[in-house]
């Protein structure tokens, strides 16, 4: 049919600030950039449609990490996130988020997004984390995308939907120069020259293969195939701590969050097959995931979210929240299996692996101004390295990136890029369309992700990783020389496969570099089972050097919020103690 026909086209536009990815961080970045300089041109490029794209496509239940005066301080929050990440945190960026996020909550409120308040009119914040209190429900959470879209229209942001960015362009001086993108329905090229670029392309959510075998049944929005990580890598930016995988405790097969954060404050908890609590705290950390994993292995699995001991009214209230926003097909899933929260606990499982700073800590390295290591290139949201950032972090750091990028753009001119880079990219992108015969993208993708599960999933074993790398190299050869795409939709998937394979290679390389275990299950190496602070109390940065993947250490910046010795291991004590 006409829609997915492959057309031969190439156009070029220019703007002051280009934002790539219009999910959560992206709209906020674009808005703040434009408000900073209303005369400037801001383009928001989106692979899907900004109206309904990203992790918050159908809205959100609440804020997971709100630092609200009277409930928590930026110092407390910074401390908690530092401890939850085994100390490997540049606190400046976390602290800055914690300081700024309250004003973003107020701004979201002014957009019409409501946050739960108690009888006194104070925010009704709930405790889910190990130490502090940061979870704030959103009673009209299903309206988030609409509210953002209204602001974008009002500010006259130029929105380009259905364009997938494939590579960044840099100038001879190493500065950012723009990006190359491909229309997902026509395969036409759009080259965007920009003075500053902000990457907001979300998590690498299609890295591991869900246990259901359904390639798009991922935890993350399946459109988030890790393109931002791949683009940053190929442009020469550094990526931090990629060995700190994202692994989440989810509803088995459905692969959506069981939402202990929603149900926990009402008395629901994560239980083993004896109906007993085995973890102290439901907040998602690597240490918590390790206990979850251990329970599954112990013979006391499966693991469940238990609600059936709660009062009928409470269950109905939880049900309404969980079945309306965020992942509204959840009710349908339970119905299909005859699961009623009043009778049965909900079976849970461990998710496939991914990269996502929103929930763990890996991503394109950024400082407290959302700057990457490439001048003029910024990153925010799930793909940038600020840990445990969640939705409010995407909004807050998106805002920081937008303002800072516009300031940068205002003081600079376009960097000149080499036209040969565009020609080379065009050849790479179009290669699968030039073949009549070969391997379709879905098979290349399936095999890549199956190998990720077989070889890269923790517990990490050196020998398995080495075999995995060899097998992934074979798949790469197929992808580069034999993959075939017969229409522009298949081409979209083919390009995503490139990102997925790049991310798999990065996951393997980064994991082999850090020869210790850290972050609970996220980086559990059976041949280096201990945490080794003497050699590895540092970040790792992965980047492309002379065309090859390379890793190096980077010191953790001196803390601005000190952590006492007896606080350092609070997150290591996740298992419920059997005797007093």
């Amino acid at each position: 049919m006409a829609m997915d026909e492959i057309l031969d086209g190439m156009s070029e536009v220019s703007c002051d600030v280009l934002v790539i990815g219009g999910g959560t961080a992206g709209p906020m970045a674009a808005l703040k950039a434009k408000l900073k300089n209303p005369k400037a041109n801001v383009v928001l490029l989106e692979k899907a449609n900004v109206k309904r794209s990203g992790a918050i496509s159908m809205g959100m239940d609440g804020l997971n990490n709100a630092v609200i005066p009277g409930y928590a301080t930026p110092e407390q929050y910074t401390k908690e996130i530092t401890i939850a990440n085994d100390g490997i945190v540049d606190q400046k960026a976390v602290y800055k988020y914690a300081e700024n996020c309250y004003s973003i909550i107020e701004e979201l409120d002014s957009f019409g997004i409501r946050f739960l308040k108690n009888e006194n009119g104070d925010y009704a914040v709930k405790k889910v984390h190990h130490i502090g209190t940061y979870v704030l429900p959103m009673p009209n959470g299903e309206t988030v995308k609409k509210a953002l879209y209204r602001q974008l229209r009002r500010a006259r942001i130029l929105i380009s939907n259905r364009y997938m960015a494939t590579r960044l362009l840099t100038g001879a001086d190493g500065r950012i120069a723009g990006a190359i993108s491909v229309n997902t329905r026509t395969a036409e090229f759009l080259v965007i020259k920009a003075k500053a670029v902000i990457l907001c392309t979300g998590a690498a959510g299609r890295l591991g293969l869900p246990t259901s075998g359904y390639m798009f049944g991922t935890y993350e929005n399946a459109a988030n195939s890790g393109d931002g990580y791949a683009m940053a890598y190929h442009a020469g930016a550094a990526l931090a701590n990629l060995e700190c995988f994202q692994i989440n405790p989810l509803i088995k097969d459905y692969n959506g969050p069981a939402c202990a954060y929603v149900a926990g404050p009402y008395g629901a908890f994560t239980a083993n097959n004896e109906g007993a609590r085995f973890i102290e705290c439901d907040y998602w950390s690597g240490q918590m995931m390790l206990e979850f994993f251990n329970e599954l292995q112990s013979g006391k699995g499966p693991v469940f979210l238990k609600l059936n001991h709660l009062h009928e009214d409470t269950i109905s209230e939880i049900e309404t929240t969980l079945h309306k926003v965020e992942r509204p097909t959840r009710g349908l899933f339970h119905e299909g299996r005859g699961t009623d929260y009043r009778q049965q606990p909900i079976e849970m499982h461990i998710s496939e692996i991914g990269f996502c700073s929103g929930h763990s800590a890996s991503g394109v390295f950024v400082d407290e101004f959302a700057r990457t290591t490439i001048p003029g290139l910024y990153a925010a949201g799930d793909m940038a390295s600020v840990p445990h950032n969640y939705m409010l972090g995407a909004f807050t750091n998106g805002a920081v990136a937008g303002e800072h990028a516009m300031e940068f753009a205002d003081n600079t001119d376009f960097a000149a890029f080499d036209a040969a880079d565009v020609a080379r990219e065009r050849d790479r992108v179009m290669a699968p369309t030039k073949r009549d015969d070969g391997i379709p993208p879905n098979q290349v993708e399936y095999k890549t992700r199956r190998l990720v599960n077989d070889y890269l999933q923790p517990p990490k074993v050196t020998r398995k990783f080495e075999i995995g790398q060899r097998r992934l190299a074979e798949v790469r050869d197929d992808m580069e020389n034999r993959m075939v795409a017969r229409n522009s939709h298949e081409l979209l998937r083919a390009l995503e496969t490139h990102s997925i394979l790049d991310c798999a290679d990065m996951a393997a390389h980064a994991s082999l570099y850090r020869t210790e275990s850290r972050w609970g299950l996220y980086h559990l190496r059976t041949d280096y089972p201990e945490k080794n602070d003497d050699d590895w109390f540092c970040h790792t940065l992965l980047s492309k050097k002379d065309g090859r993947m390379s890793s190096e250490k980077r010191a953790v910046e001196p803390y601005i919020v000190p952590i006492a010795d007896d606080e350092k291991d609070l997150y290591d004590k996740q298992r419920v103690r059997t005797s007093a």
């Binding site: 449609n49 309904r52 329905r185 798009f216 459109a223 459905y254 349908l332 299909g336």
Partner: protein, 77 residues
């Protein structure tokens, strides 16, 4: 190597009697994050062209005539 096509039961179903794509509506096609819906040349109605669905629901929620029904993909049902 020749390609064969592979049967799959798609999760998203459109009620053709209700769908007004023939009057110019393309809402579900426009909003889908995975870009898997299309308007059929044959019937003039929306349908799921690619079985690559995140069962997220914008198609169902935004359809002006309630013609779309999202089911859980069979493999994870």
């Amino acid at each position: 190597m020749p390609l064969a096509s592979y049967q799959t039961s798609v999760p998203v179903v459109v009620d053709e009697a209700k769908c007004i794509a023939d009057k110019g509506c393309t809402v579900c096609v426009d909003v889908c994050p995975l870009d898997v819906l299309r308007i059929s040349d044959l019937t003039g109605k929306a349908y799921m062209a690619y079985d690559e669905c995140w069962y997220c629901m914008p198609c169902e929620a935004d359809c002006p005539t309630d013609a779309v029904k999202v089911n859980i993909p069979y493999l994870l049902r």
